[in-house]
């Protein structure tokens, strides 16, 4: 039982990281109707900048603070130089172009920082464990990620539901031409939304830095999960991204943790372990298939005008 709660927390933490990634991606898709495979590159840029700044200044917080504008500006630059030319193109063209961006950023990172994976450690005051549940110490840093993610979620909700910018973003998601006709500077709005998405990805990368290897190509492994999340949640919906991310995080973690044990009830141990491991890596895709079978446009579909 103890273990179950601990794994729930682990799942929650993975879900929160995924939420930071997918919120940005789903906004970009919802407002601009662009499939951006290079979203993982902003995650990587965030992690690299955080690691570099933290190494030079000795402060992790400073590293994260530097990563936000770095990733955001990179995103805005990419929007202005590349993405802007893709709005009216086919989705296939967008996939091709942004896939090219992935290769470009991975190579750029190798040129600038070299092949050596960077070192980024947990800040001292977060390096211990907390006994949230007696008998199951939990890394404080992972708790901090959960808290940070929840705060970002609230801020994002406030931004989208309560501010003028958010109103425009919502309007842009349902009918971009109409918003333009009403005199809103669409070009600026697009750049801002794209920058916001990149900034969130950069934050996810900077926060993941102390847990993961900061290396070229680190964005791709999380990008796949991110796409699963936004498909489950409904493309374009931030609320969907939140629910989808938590679902994927929980299913993935709990599947890895408990499927082998569950199968042992019916199968011999060796077979159960083998099948459990395979099934666990499929679990989120099975979840996605199940969701799409019932709700073809995801849990929270966004209607386009």
């Amino acid at each position: 039982m103890l273990l179950f709660f601990e794994q729930l927390l682990n799942g929650l933490q993975l879900g929160i990281t995924l939420f930071l990634m997918s919120a940005g991606l789903t906004l970009v898709f919802g407002v601009m109707n662009v499939i951006n495979l290079a979203h993982g590159s902003f995650y990587m840029v965030g992690a690299y900048v955080a690691a570099t700044v933290a190494a030079h200044s000795g402060s992790f917080a400073l590293g994260v603070l530097a990563a936000l504008p770095a990733a955001g500006l990179t995103g805005m630059l990419v929007e202005a130089l590349v993405i802007r030319r893709l709005y009216l193109r086919d989705h296939l063209d967008q996939v091709l172009a942004t896939f090219g961006l992935i290769l470009f950023f991975n190579e750029l990172v190798r040129v600038v920082w070299g092949r050596q994976p960077l070192f980024l450690d947990v800040p001292g005051w977060l390096s211990g464990q907390v006994e949230l549940i007696p008998g199951a110490p939990y890394p404080s840093y992972r708790l901090a990620i959960i808290v940070a993610g929840a705060l970002v979620g609230v801020a994002l909700w406030w931004l989208i539901a309560r501010t003028r910018l958010g109103m425009r973003i919502r309007a842009g998601a349902s009918n971009l031409q109409m918003v333009a006709a009403l005199g809103v500077n669409i070009r600026l709005l697009n750049t801002l939304v794209f920058g916001l998405g990149a900034l969130l990805a950069g934050l996810a990368g900077a926060l993941a830095g102390p847990i993961l290897a900061v290396e070229s190509g680190m964005g791709e492994s999380i990008l796949i999960l991110t796409f699963v999340v936004i498909v489950i949640g409904g493309i374009g919906s931030v609320r969907g991204a939140l629910i989808g991310a938590l679902l994927v995080g929980l299913v993935d973690t709990l599947g890895r943790a408990f499927l082998p044990d569950l199968l042992r009830l019916f199968l011999p141990v060796a077979q159960a372990d083998g099948a459990g491991a395979s099934l666990a890596s499929m679990a989120i895709y099975i979840l996605m298939a199940a969701v799409l079978a019932v709700r073809p446009r995801g849990l929270f579909p966004v209607s386009h005008g």
Binding site: L2, L3, E6, Q7, N10, G11, Q13, L14, R110, R115, Q116, P117, L118, F119, D121, V122, S127, G128, Q129, A136, P137, P139, Y141, R142, P210, I211, L212, A213, V214, E215, S216, G217, M218, S221, I222, T253, L254, R256, A257, D273, G274, A277, S278, A280, S281
Partner: protein, 388 residues
């Protein structure tokens, strides 16, 4: 008049005949290196190449006194790409010696082709079991290890250190299964758990929680590259105080720099370390650091040894024209390996000592320190299946 003409012609012929060997000797021996230079794993190929070239440049572009020309190409970790590069080396360049492959799946695609074409392949890294056992070949030499070796040594060491319950963990792919099989071959205790994770997995929180609940007294993992960095960082943050063991692959100089303090105290198995007191090794480590400004990894040491092995054979044969002589000379392994004693077994894989190292932190940073020699003149488990 006719006599004179004949005399001139004969003289010309004689001259030509005399010149021919000279001309041949001036033509350098071509060596084709195909290795992984791109992708996340690119540093492995980079180190193999740099180690190899260090030996070539130390002799001023020669190996064993014979001029060589080394071409290097990136296989991008793709078997198909590896095969096409190898074909180019063999057909276009007429190379008789190939080397460089990092990954077993690339080796399995390339090596059988190369050896069938009457060319020599010298492996500086990958050692899949097939090529050590039933699939061994007179033209294939492995100068690094058989894949299982560095796991076997940890199985023996963990047992000898008195641990009874091990929790073992590897990615769910052939090399991961081989790794755990190698560990289990020499581990005498019971298993608290045997877990196969997704290849390329980045978050290990679930596995670490399971591991703690299983109460093992030792953890053995094989998670190459970034996966190992992730696991070690997360393991340290989780505050589990069960000792960790692994093969050298997760503890080379570059990975240690990225993991930091989280790796300190971990024991790992390796056939080489920078602190082995062997004259060839002292020289190698010194020269490598001077030339490239970084610590060599075990991959660099293997690249260096591959070049020195080729040098020893070329010194004996003077070239690659007589393949039988070249094979015989390679098999003698008449060179000073950076790991000390080195010989080839019947399957032309190393018979060598294997060590356990411990990660320590001192003024020089975080590095490996040799603890002791666990295997003496260790032979791989597949040699008996080889008909050579």
């Amino acid at each position: 008049m006719i006599n004179k003409t004949i005399a001139v012609a004969a003289a010309a012929l004689l001259l030509g005949a005399a010149q021919q060997p000279v001309a041949l000797a001036a033509e350098p021996v071509r060596i084709g290196m195909l290795t992984t230079l791109s992708t996340k794993a690119g540093y492995l190929g980079e180190d193999i190449r740099d180690g190899f070239m260090l030996a070539v440049e130390a002799e001023g572009g020669k190996l064993g006194g014979v001029p060589v020309e080394v071409s290097v190409e990136d296989d991008e970790r793709k078997p198909g790409k590896g095969v096409s590069i190898a074909e180019r080396y063999l057909k276009r360049d007429g190379a008789k010696i190939l080397t460089g492959i990092v990954f077993s799946n690339v080796a399995m695609a390339v090596v059988p082709k190369v050896v069938r074409e009457d060319a020599i392949y010298i492996s500086p890294n990958a050692g899949p079991s097939r090529l050590a056992g039933k699939g061994c070949h007179a033209n294939y030499f492995n100068v690094a290890w058989q894949n299982d070796n560095l796991h076997e040594v940890m199985g023996k060491y963990v047992s000898e250190a008195g641990h009874q319950r091990a929790y073992i963990l590897a990615p769910n792919y052939p090399a991961g299964k081989d790794a755990l099989a190698g560990f289990k071959r020499y581990f005498k205790g019971e298993l608290a758990g045997e877990v196969y994770t997704k290849l390329g997995q980045s978050d290990y929180a679930a596995e670490i929680a399971e591991l703690r609940a299983a109460r093992p007294d030792a953890v053995f993992f094989f998670l190459p590259g970034g996966m190992g960095i992730n696991f070690l960082k997360q393991y340290a943050q989780a505050g589990v105080d069960v000792p960790v063991f692994g093969p050298a692959f997760s503890f080379d100089a570059r990975i240690l720099k990225a993991v930091g303090d989280a790796a300190v105290g971990v024991h790992n198995g390796s056939q080489w370390n920078h602190d082995l007191v062997v004259p060839a090794n002292v020289q190698f480590v010194h020269d490598f650091r001077e030339k490239y400004g970084r610590m060599p990894t075990l991959y660099a040491s293997q690249g260096y040894d591959a070049a020195r092995l080729i040098a020893s054979a070329l010194k004996a044969t003077g070239g690659v024209d007589d393949l039988d002589a070249l094979r015989a000379a390679l098999k003698r392994a008449d060179f000073e390996s950076v790991r000390g004693r080195f010989a080839f077994g019947n399957n032309q894989h190393p018979v060598q000592d294997i060590y356990v190292r411990r990660v320590v932190k001192d003024d020089e940073g975080i590095r490996n320190e040799t603890v002791n020699r666990v295997f003496e003149a260790h032979r791989d488990a597949y040699a008996a299946d080889c008909k050579l």
